[in-house]
Amino acid sequence: MTTVPPTLAADEVEPAVRGPAPARRGTLPPVARVLARRALQAVSVTLLVSTACFVIVQNLPGDMAYRIAAGRYGYDRVTTASADAVRADLGLDAPAWQQLARWWADLAQFDLGTSLVTGGSVVHELRLPVTSSLQLAATALALAVAVGAPVGMAAAWRPGGLLDRLTTVWVAGTRALPPFLLGLLLIMLFSVHLGWLPAVGHGSASNVVLPAVTLAVGLSGLFARVTRDTVAQLRGSGFVTFAETKGLRGRAVLARHVLRNAGVTLVAYVGAQALILIEGVVVVESLFAWPGLGRTLVHAIFWRDVPVIQAAAVALALLVVLINTVVDVAGLALDPRPRWRQVVP
């Protein structure tokens, strides 16, 4: 035998060097690392998105001055004279790069400029859309989770059972119903025929109900489905079986093991849906006259209101980053395992 020293070290009771090593000295703790990475992303996304918007809007067909004038004076009072006035007023004749540089310089001082159409400060103009979008998204999500998660949990308890099959039908049904149709149906039912809820408007708590329900109906089915799949998968996992044979009762197993682990999946999923809700609900906003970000964006693009487009796009992009951050941090809080980046050979 070759002389290989028998270095089979006794398995020390406290293995200081075995297992994945603790974080190296000098590196940041996971939460700080997530925050730092996301902060960097926020800055780069802001620059990128605003520049992209600017470049695209500059290259859209049609004379910007006319568009802005149409926004300022109303659709049937826009004239060449007013467009000329707008052009002179806003300095649209200046080279594009100068306009962009000016926007960047202002941004560095946290000044988003003024709307070309209304002349009001962009920050002021966006405050309502951002808060109402968040409000609608948060309410819809809360509703969807409140309904979907328990239903999914119950369905997972008896896979293939009545409730399980019902959620499948529910998902298919809601997916086949476009949100604008659903919204109309809800207005017809709850507003016109029953008169329980206001159809449109913004301001009082009752206003948010119908649009939120419109969004939540489809989402709740999805959440129920995801919860069901996750919980059913967890119920077959080793640690849930082990917890049961340890003598824990069903409810204790659910509370101590299933919920938190299901939360890891659900939080990520809810986050992804939140993004869709915040950016993609322009239909519901339009139908319910909800003053959200999507509608603001549609109007701003229609009128070529560049600062508003840029600011709204940046706001949306930052919301994306913010939600991703919250999801990351919540994920870290729920599941301490390190996430290795997939190494590509």
Partner: protein, 279 residues
């Protein structure tokens, strides 16, 4: 659902695999095929979906006009066939473009790694942060109501999804032992593509693509509803629903028909996917 999950031996010929479709899948496929036939045949029966006869506005359904006429006296059935054709064709084209572009970029990024991966991944991150709505709106603003820009906008908004999934999945496959073994056997990139990546990605991509077609049809009609979609009088499902809505009690057939077609497309695609796989 149960039969949908049974594994079909991979060596079975294609038609036999078709036979193993679940009843749900068969119904869904039949509904979609019927809809497709209606859409194609409609082109012969009603050659001009924009032909008006103002004197016959809101005419109720009859034998000659199975779905009645709309507020401009146009044949609802003819418009519906044309709209279905347009919606399905555009959606399929969008998804096909997005799948091809996304999958190619994803495989490329996962395979080459390094600078290629960094650039493509950075690009996709930017697209993720850029709201999909904004992409579609901006692109469709480039030429109002043009079908091409709408197609480009939707494809542009969707490729990222495929890129991300394919990249992650390919990285997993490529770093796995099977590909390592193929490397040791010196079987070459074509083998890896054909035997490892494609079989692994195909079910994923088909599932995502059927879902994507549904999403695209919905997105098209949604844009029509908001008023930035295809310009009238080109018939489009969302636009038809919007146009018909004011007449919902006077001429219910007008709004019901496109809504039903939309629902059929979505349910059909959903049913075709067979086993439920959200997320």
């Amino acid at each position: 659902m149960s039969t949908a999950t049974t594994t079909v031996p991979a060596h079975w010929p294609r038609w036999q695999r078709l036979r193993r479709l679940s009843p749900t899948q068969r119904c869904a496929a039949a509904a979609l095929v019927l809809l497709g036939l209606f859409a194609v045949a409609g082109a012969w029966v009603w050659p001009d979906p924009a032909a008006q006869d103002l004197s016959r506005f809101l005419e109720p359904p009859s034998l000659a006009e199975p779905l009645g006429r709309d507020h401009l006296g146009r044949s609802v059935a003819g418009r519906l066939a044309s709209a279905t054709r347009l919606s399905l064709a555009t959606a399929v084209a969008c998804v096909a473009t997005a799948v091809v572009a996304g999958a190619l970029a994803g495989v490329l990024a996962a395979w080459r790694g390094g600078i290629v991966d960094t650039v493509l991944h950075g690009l996709s991150e930017a697209f993720v942060a850029l709201p999909a709505l904004l992409v579609v709106l901006l692109v469709s603003a480039m030429s109002g109501g043009g079908l091409w820009t709408l197609y480009a906008g939707l494809a542009l908004a969707q490729w990222v999804e495929y890129f991300r999934v394919v990249r992650a999945r390919s990285a997993l496959v490529l770093s796995g032992p099977a590909v390592e073994a193929a490397g040791l056997l010196q079987l070459g990139p074509l083998h890896v593509l054909r035997r490892h990546l494609w079989p692994d990605l195909r079910p994923l991509l088909t599932t995502m693509a059927t879902f994507g077609v549904g999403t695209s049809v919905l997105a098209l009609s949604t844009l029509g509803f908001v008023g930035v979609g295809i310009a009238p009088p080109t018939p489009e499902l969302g636009l038809m629903i919007t146009e018909a809505f004011p007449y919902y009690d006077e001429a219910p057939w007008m709004s019901l028909a496109p809504a039903l077609v939309l629902a059929t497309v979505l349910v059909g695609l959903l049913g075709l996917r067979g086993k439920e796989s959200v997320s």
